[in-house]
């Protein structure tokens, strides 16, 4: 049977005669004409949809892992900033004593920096096993380049922390109104729309409990980007 892929391969060679800059588009046009004659194969659509699902699983896991990092930093910051405000600290410390585990798991199970060969040989078994089986960056996982991925996620973390009120807008790559019109994330946005009222109510309740201590806690909670890549919370000691 004539394979579309083999056609692409050969026709692309021929099309180099017409100039490399137009290679990709010319190939595409020829294939379009060919397939209009032959008909499209639904199995191919299904196959590549499955590939997209695989990649989306990886992409979503990367963003999810980064959210664990954000959660860790936010809860640690809340705990630190509310040391003198018992009502708030009781609530904040509940998270701060448990969330670090998840950040540790991100480093152990999901994202590892790219190991160097000499490091692999010297480091011993534990590091090698973790590097190999790390779900996102391990060669037996999705196999992403750990160094490259960590830089992208660090930048993303900076965006999240410097502009927290527009978190959703910053994450969506298409205009929200257009997504809504297409019926995308309509149920999710109903949940999301509850957040501002909830945040306002909790903040008001804490403020009403002790306005002075609330003010101190709020003053101590600062977010700072040390430079383009390094990220840190800065706690302003009274």
């Amino acid at each position: 049977m004539f394979k579309i892929r083999s056609f692409c391969f050969h026709s692309a060679h021929l099309l180099t005669l017409y100039g490399a800059s137009n290679l990709q588009e010319n190939t595409g046009l020829l294939i379009t004409k060919l397939n209009k004659l032959l008909g499209w194969k639904s199995e191919e659509v299904d196959k590549w949809a499955s590939s997209a699902l695989y990649i989306l699983g990886y992409y979503a896991s990367c963003v999810h892992a980064n959210m664990h990092v954000l959660h860790y930093l936010m809860t640690a910051a809340l705990d630190e900033s509310s040391k003198e405000f018992d009502a708030m600290n009781e609530w904040a410390s509940f998270y701060a004593t448990n969330i670090p585990n998840k950040y540790g798991q991100v480093g152990d199970l999901l994202i590892r920096k790219q190991p160097e060969l000499t490091e692999l040989l010297i480091q011993g078994n534990e590091g090698t096993v973790k590097d190999t089986y790390a779900i996102l960056t391990g060669s037996s996982g999705f196999g992403a380049n750990g160094d490259k991925l960590r830089l992208i996620l660090t930048k993303l973390l900076n965006v999240w922390t410097t502009d927290p009120t527009n978190y959703i807008d910053n994450m969506l790559q298409a205009p929200k109104e257009k997504l809504m019109k297409a019926g995308i994330l309509t149920e999710f946005m109903k949940h999301h729309d509850l957040v501002p009222d909830y945040a306002r109510d909790v903040t008001e309740a804490l403020k009403n409990t002790d306005e002075d201590k609330f003010g101190i806690a709020e003053d101590r909670l600062k977010v700072s980007n040390c430079n383009e890549l390094a990220f840190a919370f800065v706690f302003c000691r009274p």
């Binding site: 990092v69 509940f94 994330l185």
Partner: protein
Amino acid sequence: MRLQTSTLILAAAISSSATAFAPSALAPRQATRLDAGTPMPQVLPGVDVPSPADIPEVISWPFTFQRVQLFLGGSIPGSANVMLGQPKSNKGTTIVAQTALLASQKIATQIPNASEYKFFGNGNHSKNLQYLLKTNPFMAAALTENGSGFELRSFDTRDPHAEDPSASLYRQIVSCLGGADHRVNIRFDADMSIREIRVYEVRTHYTHLIFCSK
């Protein structure tokens, strides 16, 4: 090889999710110290991992733990061996996993009209893709605008090699992957029906138009 990896990923993902269902509530108060003084490993540059001494013991949550174990014990061993080493095109393997999961959870017997439910793992990947992109916020965030519709864009058709720091987050993160079959552009219309699929083959440097419906 791909299936072997996928099985591992599935098992590991579920294992790590299991810990998410076992919150260590009311742990003895110990510090989460960012200024511990001793150098510690970092997942992201500038963000320290707390030293093991600072991490509190996980408090068991028997009911949740029991449910997670039931799922892991019932479905993973039953389906992993069947799926291992099988080609991705073999839809029968995902149905085995689905059957094992339903049997271990006894879900089907608890739902009066179970046959009318649409479970995942039905092999209809294009339908699953459209559904997940419409409902899952992680995945919907990957969509970019394209004319009157949307696109899942993992490479630039004019220059598939290009490293573009202004590209969408999805494209940047996908560019961290090596290997074959990871560069797929799928264009959707305003109703999220698939209109075009274009693939870039990393090894041969050619793009292939797989499907086009104008």
